[in-house]
Amino acid sequence: MDVNRRRLLVLLPAAAVAWKFVLAGTPEGAPNFKLTEHWWAMLIDLPKCIGCGSCVRACSAENDVPDGYFRTWVERYHVADWKIERPDVESPDGGKESFPPSDIGGKNFFVPKLCNHCADSPCTQVCPVGATFVTPDGVVLVDKTYCLGCRYCVQACPYGCRFINPKTNTAEKCSLCYHRITKGLTTACCEVCPTGARQLADLKNPKDPIHEYLKTHTVQVLKPHMATGAKVFYNGMDGSVR
């Protein structure tokens, strides 16, 4: 192939981008973990969720989340027969200590929520300093030593998954327990879920059971019309869930 000046100008940027992916290798903190070999996601099987709050408590303990703030939380939906488009949603203390008994009629169910680790995340796009980013293995993280606390990302997240940590005054959110999954463990919320309603998934691992599950079940993501590339998949999700 003849390489003239025009072709070279096209090829050089492409080669630079390719070289960046080659460099995306091993983070120092996890010597046996290759960033580009994973693409993390989560599966939430709603018919299995009992609203016990184990995930919320585990997340708080694992990640030192301040009281009154949540990286993950559980919502209880009440969908009355005549109110399907306007369900009542409650999450007392994030569902941390489970939910009080309820004898309201209609349809009732629990929905755990967390950062959706979007592939095209609005929160990373608005960060003015590059303090929040999508890692090469698909996890949206916050660099708290670099975050200004400007709150743009808090407003940009369509799922309400971010908050400003009152101790550090920086943005905070679910890190998909990045310090655990890079060590070969599952997330704290998945670890403690007593019914297996939450499962960590690696979409790049061909042996991960998620692939068979996605083939055989009807799963959805939250707010698909936002085109965020959300990677938290919900099985059995009612149409009233927002």
Partner: protein
């Protein structure tokens, strides 16, 4: 012009972190820093390595699927130094109710009770053994299962 360019490049090199741009428009070292944080939950495989008698008991009942730290809380420190760090004693009246208190939002096939009617405030572990909750043999159910194998 050249001096301004040199000053700009010098200032940029001084201000921008070394690993900024390593993987994208962010500080590449942040990934390793976040990954290096210590864990709080050891994981059930670690617990099962020592508490084999509990594993045997759990296999006989429906709590076989319940991970250890769902009830016992974060135990990585205990796993690191079992002699120095002891897990706290649990209050079954609170703990069991979190999962088994009746609620219309729970799956219909999940075992639920109205605790006020079911036990009248008596602690659950008076009758049920947490690792094997079905009451089958009263004498067998009294045996403790919480000591780790030496």
């Amino acid at each position: 012009m050249v001096i301004a360019l040199v000053v700009f490049v010098g200032l940029r090199a001084a201000v921008v972190p070394k690993t900024f741009g390593q993987y994208g428009h962010y500080r590449g070292a942040a990934i390793a820093e976040i990954a290096a944080r210590p864990i709080a939950y050891a994981g059930h495989e670690v617990c099962e390595g020592c508490h084999t008698d509990v594993v045997d008991q759990k296999k006989l009942g429906r709590h076989v699927v319940v991970p250890c730290e769902a009830c016992h809380g974060a135990q990585a420190k205990h796993a690191d130094d079992p002699a120095a760090v002891k897990p706290p004693k649990l209050d079954t009246a609170v703990l069991c109710a979190r999962c088994h208190e009746a609620n219309t939002a729970k799956p219909k096939n999940f075992p639920q009770v109205v605790t006020a009617d079911h036990s009248s405030g008596i602690a659950c572990d008076t009758c049920h053994r947490p690792h094997r909750p079905k009451i089958e043999d009263a004498a067998d159910n009294k045996k403790p299962t919480t000591e780790a194998k030496k």
